[in-house]
């Protein structure tokens, strides 16, 4: 049973810092060995988790949701009203999307998502987050200088387009709905989902490209 005692936890962290080799591969190996020997998990189950998140749960899910919102106005209304319920139409609900909010980019507003205090992310619909999302640089700077950060991603936002940065401080998670690019009027949902980038659903990509998809 966890103690929920801050001082005890800090003491244990200092002990681990001083007595356990810091090499991360070794630490994870030790953790896996101990967890397996304690009967908490099998190594094959870890393999299954790795495969689930590389093959089945990832940003392709979010892309399908965005594409449907582009072609189906009724779905878009449901998505913007209650994204947690709307993604159940795909069976994409789950870990970290129990309170999901979809926010739509417009000509006048760009949305961008961060978690400054840890690295909260809507796993069941976007998979594991990219390393940059978890970096100290992104967490520190996204709220303070979003336009400079966007420029590093190649997004040069005109002054007159407002930026709204959503800092995920509670259990709400965000999905940015990017704008549908011009020249895709006759595209079907499947083809459209192929041009929705992961970064556009986090808000560090804005103008999606219709060419080459």
């Amino acid at each position: 049973m966890s103690t929920f005692d801050s001082k005890h936890a800090a003491h244990l962290h200092r002990h681990i810092h001083s007595h356990v080799p810091s090499d991360p591969a070794l630490r994870v190996k030790a953790l896996e060995s101990l967890a397996v020997e304690k009967g908490l998990i099998s190594s094959e189950t870890i393999d299954a988790w790795v495969e689930a998140y590389s093959e089945h749960i990832g940003p392709m899910r979010g892309a399908k949701v965005v594409a449907r919102a582009w072609v189906d106005p009724g779905f878009k209304t449901r998505l913007l009203a209650d994204a947690t319920e709307a993604i159940k139409e795909f069976g994409f609900e789950g870990n970290a999307t129990g309170h999901l909010k979809a926010v739509e980019n417009t000509d006048a507003q760009h949305n961008m998502v961060v978690c400054t205090l840890c690295s909260c992310y809507p796993f069941s619909i976007l998979g594991m987050s990219p390393a940059w999302y978890k970096s100290a640089a992104y967490r520190a700077r996204a709220v303070r200088e979003p336009r400079t950060v966007l420029a590093e991603f190649g997004v040069n936002l005109p002054e007159e387009v407002a930026v709204r940065v959503w800092d995920s401080t509670a259990e709400l998670r965000y999905l940015v709905v990017p704008q549908r690019p011009a020249g895709t009027d006759d595209w079907d949902e499947d083809r459209l989902s192929g041009i929705v980038t992961r970064n556009s659903m986090i808000g560090t990509d804005r103008v999606l490209k219709a060419g080459g998809a």
């Binding site: 801050s6 800090a10 009967g39 689930a52 089945h56 129990g98 840890c118 390393a131 509670a170």
Partner: protein, 217 residues
């Protein structure tokens, strides 16, 4: 706590690793760490005790360790704290009395387990909400909870309530296994309020904030 984790607005971290940090995982051990964590190997913890554990890491380690390196270190702490493993076992690297092996799950079972992990953090409202959409509120200047979700950069600032989510579990208490609800709001702050007059007047930052973080402005 005013810890090293509270990074919002801090300067000196350099460029975002846009290209080199594009992939979610850089090493096999990171994927295995993710799998271990998703399987819930420390069942007695709460999400906020997990987050608080990360905040309590040795500060130098917090800043220099990669994300999954922090997780590995935190899980070692959490499992020792919970009495699941001892410091002796950790330093030895194996246990003296192994338990029966865990059952292996298939990928399909994992995908279904993720779907069923759609957790609802809302709780019944026991008190009327103090604020409504459109209200102007000020955040507290000081907050002395061990764990809190009011970042330093948004303290003693005036913003506008743009959404009310009913009551949600209050993390400051949840970090200590006390499951109480409090009204939760999305509050929008102008970039100029947070960062000064040089910020673009059109820009805003929103945060989810619990009622006890707020006073009428």
């Amino acid at each position: 706590m005013d810890g090293i984790h509270d990074l919002g607005g801090k300067e000196g971290y350099g460029p975002v690793p846009v290209t080199e940090g594009d992939a979610p995982f850089a090493h096999d051990w990171e994927q295995r760490m993710w799998g271990l964590a998703r399987e819930g190997i420390c069942p007695s913890m709460t999400i906020d005790w997990f987050r608080h554990g990360l905040e309590l890491m040795v500060p130098g380690d917090y800043l220099t360790f990669s994300y999954f390196q922090k997780w590995a270190t935190n899980y070692l702490m959490l499992m020792v704290d919970a009495g699941q493993i001892t410091l002796e076992e950790l330093e030895r690297g194996y246990v003296l009395e192994p338990a029966d092996p865990a059952r292996t799950k298939t990928v399909d079972q994992i995908v279904e387990q993720v779907r069923r992990a759609c957790t609802d953090f809302s709780v019944p409202e026991e008190t009327p909400a103090h604020f409504a959409v459109g209200d102007t509120v000020r955040t507290l200047r000081q907050i002395n909870h061990n764990h809190t979700r009011l970042p330093a950069y948004a303290r003693d600032c005036v913003g506008e309530v743009i959404a009310h989510h009913g009551s949600h579990l209050f993390p400051d208490e949840g970090a200590h296994d006390r499951h109480v609800g409090q009204h939760l709001y999305t509050v929008s702050f102008s970039a100029q309020e947070l960062w000064g007059d040089d910020a673009n007047p059109r820009d805003t930052v929103t945060l989810e904030l619990w009622e006890s973080y707020l006073v009428p402005a």
